[in-house]
C-alpha cells in the first residue's frame, strides 16, 4: 500500500471516512467497559470513599490533553518543515478536541477537589499546569481564527503550537517548584500509591477509549476542514464530487 498517496487531502478524505465508524465503535465499547469497571467493579477507596471514582475520567482526560498537544505540535512541525497542507489541517482539527479534554480534566479536577479538599479550586501543580495548557490551546485556536490569510494562519498557529510545546515541561516544572515554595495547598492529585490492578485496567481502558474517540472526532473534523478549504478543487474536478460528498 502506498501511504504517501493519502497525504493529499482529497485522497485522505474518503480513507478517513471509512475509518471513522471503526474508531467510533471501538471508542464507545472501551469507554463503556472502562466506566463499568471504574464505577461498579473497582473497590471503594478507604480514604476518599466513592468520590475518587472521578479519576477514571479525570486522569485519562488529563493524559489525552497533554498527548494531543504534543501530537498537534508534531503535525505543525511536519507542516512547517514539509509545507504539507494536510498536516496543517490535522493541526486545526486536533486543537478543539485537545482543549475539550483539558477543560474536562479541569472540570473533573474541581469536582474531585470539592469533596476531597473541601474547595472547588486548589492551586495544585498539576491543575495549574492544566489551566495554563488550556490557555495555550485557546491561544493557538484564536490566533488561527484572527488571521484571514489561510496559509499565514496555518503557519503562524503552527509556530505558536511549537513554542508552546517547548514551554509545557518548563511550565510544569516551574509550577511544581512554586508549589513546594508555597507549602499549604500541596495536596497531590495522585491516587492511592498502590493502585489495584482492576483500577489500572479501568483507567487504561478509559484512556484507550478516549484515544479512539479523539481519532474519530479529529478525523471527521479534518474532513470538514478539507471540504471547507478544498471546495475550489472539488468543484473543478466533478469526478471526485460524488465520492466525496456521498452520504455514508
Amino acid at each position: 500500500m502506498n501511504w504517501s498517496k493519502y497525504s493529499a487531502p482529497l485522497a485522505f478524505y474518503p480513507l478517513a471516512g471509512r475509518m471513522i465508524p471503526w474508531f467510533g465503535t471501538v471508542a464507545a465499547l472501551a469507554i463503556a467497559v472502562g466506566l463499568y469497571i471504574g464505577l461498579l467493579v473497582a473497590p471503594t477507596d478507604f480514604q476518599q470513599g466513592e468520590a475518587y471514582r472521578i479519576i477514571f475520567v479525570h486522569v485519562p482526560a488529563a493524559w489525552m490533553s497533554m498527548f494531543l498537544y504534543v501530537v498537534m505540535a508534531v503535525w505543525a512541525a511536519v507542516g512547517l518543515g514539509l509545507n504539507a497542507r494536510l498536516s496543517f489541517m490535522m493541526t486545526q482539527a486536533i486543537a478543539p478536541t485537545g482543549a475539550m479534554f483539558t477543560f474536562l480534566a479541569l472540570l473533573t479536577g474541581a469536582m474531585w477537589g470539592k469533596p476531597t479538599w473541601g474547595a472547588w479550586w486548589v492551586w495544585d501543580a498539576r491543575l495549574t499546569s492544566e489551566l495554563i495548557l488550556l490557555f495555550q490551546y485557546a491561544g493557538v485556536m484564536l490566533l488561527r481564527t484572527s488571521i484571514d490569510d489561510q496559509r499565514r494562519a496555518d503557519r503562524a498557529s503552527g509556530v505558536c503550537a511549537l513554542v508552546g510545546v517547548v514551554n509545557i515541561p518548563i511550565i510544569y516544572f516551574s509550577v511544581q517548584w512554586w508549589n513546594t515554595l508555597h507549602q499549604g495547598a500541596s495536596v497531590s492529585m495522585t491516587a492511592a500509591p498502590k493502585m489495584a490492578t482492576i483500577m489500572l485496567t479501568g483507567m487504561l481502558l478509559m484512556t484507550f477509549g478516549f484515544w479512539m474517540y479523539s481519532l474519530a472526532v479529529i478525523l471527521s473534523r479534518a474532513r470538514c476542514v478539507i471540504l471547507e478549504r478544498e471546495s475550489l478543487q472539488l468543484w473543478s474536478k466533478p469526478s471526485s464530487v460524488p465520492e466525496v460528498a456521498g452520504v455514508r
Binding site: 512547517l80 495554563i132 490557555f135 495555550q136 485557546a138 491561544g139 484564536l142 490566533l143 484572527s146 488571521i147 496559509r151 499565514r152 503557519r155 503562524a156 509556530v159 505558536c160 511549537l162 513554542v163 508552546g164 517547548v166 514551554n167 518548563i170 511550565i171 516544572f173 516551574s174 509550577v175 517548584w177 512554586w178 515554595l181
Partner: protein, 227 residues
C-alpha cells in the same frame, strides 16, 4: 562591494532603534508611567497595612513589570512593519535570528531597563528593604530580557492581525508564567531568609534558553507574517 561584519550590522540595528526611541521619548515614558500607576493602585485596593503590602510586594511588582513589558510589545515590530523597514530587514545579508536578537535587545534597553531601574523605588513603596530590595532588582534584571525575548515571538506572530493587542497577551502570558514564578520566588525566598539564589539561577537558565531559541522562532514568525 564591502560586506559589513555581522557585528557591524547588529550595531547598526541597535543604534537605529535607540535613536528612534530617543526621538520618541514619550513612548518610553508611557510604559514606565504605566508601571508606576499599576503598582500604586494595589495599596489603594488592598489597604495601607505595611505587613500585608510587604507580603504581596514581590508578586505585585513582578506582575506589574510583566504587564508593562506586555504593553510595550506592540512597539517591537509594528512600526517597522507598517513603513516597510521590516521587509528591508529581512533582506539584509545576515542571519535573521541574530538581527532579531539585536532588535529585541534594543527594545529591552528602552522598555525593560527602565523598569529595572525604577523597581527599587517601587519596592520602597511596598516596604521592601535591604536584601529583598536588591533581590527584586537582580531578579528583574535577569527576568525582563527573557520577557522581551519571549514576547517578541508573540509580537511577530500577531503582526498586522486585527485585535493584535489582546491576542498577544493571550499568546504570551502563559509563556511568562515560569519567569514570574522564579522572579517573584527569588524575592519571596530572600524575604523568608532562605536566599533567592536558586530562583536566580533558574531565571538565568530561562534567559539563556530564550536567547538561544526565541530569536529563531521570532525570525520564522516574521517571515510568515511578511509573506
Amino acid at each position: 562591494m564591502s560586506q559589513p561584519g555581522l557585528w557591524e550590522t547588529l550595531r547598526g540595528i541597535i543604534w537605529r532603534d535607540l535613536l528612534l526611541a530617543i526621538r520618541r521619548r514619550s513612548d518610553v515614558a508611557i510604559s514606565v508611567l504605566f508601571l508606576v500607576i499599576v503598582a500604586s493602585l494595589f495599596p489603594l485596593g488592598v489597604g495601607p497595612e505595611p505587613a500585608v503590602l510587604r507580603t504581596i510586594a514581590a508578586g505585585v511588582l513582578w506582575v506589574a513589570a510583566l504587564l508593562a513589558c506586555l504593553l510595550s510589545l506592540g512597539r517591537v515590530f509594528t512600526a517597522d512593519y507598517l513603513d516597510g523597514v521590516l521587509e528591508q530587514m529581512l533582506l539584509i545579508a545576515q542571519p535573521l535570528p541574530v538581527l532579531v536578537a539585536g532588535k529585541v535587545f534594543a527594545h529591552w534597553v528602552v522598555s525593560g531597563l527602565p523598569v529595572v531601574l525604577l523597581s527599587p523605588l517601587l519596592g520602597l513603596q511596598f516596604g521592601l528593604e535591604g536584601e529583598a530590595l536588591g533581590m527584586l532588582v537582580l531578579s528583574l534584571l535577569l527576568g525582563t530580557p527573557t520577557l522581551s525575548m519571549i514576547g517578541s515571538i508573540g509580537a511577530a506572530l500577531v503582526l498586522g492581525v486585527r485585535g493584535s493587542g489582546l491576542l498577544v497577551a493571550l499568546l504570551v502570558l502563559p509563556l511568562y508564567v515560569p519567569v514570574l514564578i522564579f522572579g517573584a520566588g527569588a524575592v519571596t525566598s530572600s524575604m523568608a531568609g532562605i536566599g533567592g539564589e536558586a530562583n536566580l539561577s533558574l531565571l538565568g537558565a530561562c534567559l539563556v534558553l530564550s536567547v538561544f531559541f526565541a530569536p529563531w522562532a521570532t525570525a520564522s514568525a516574521l517571515r510568515i507574517a511578511l509573506e
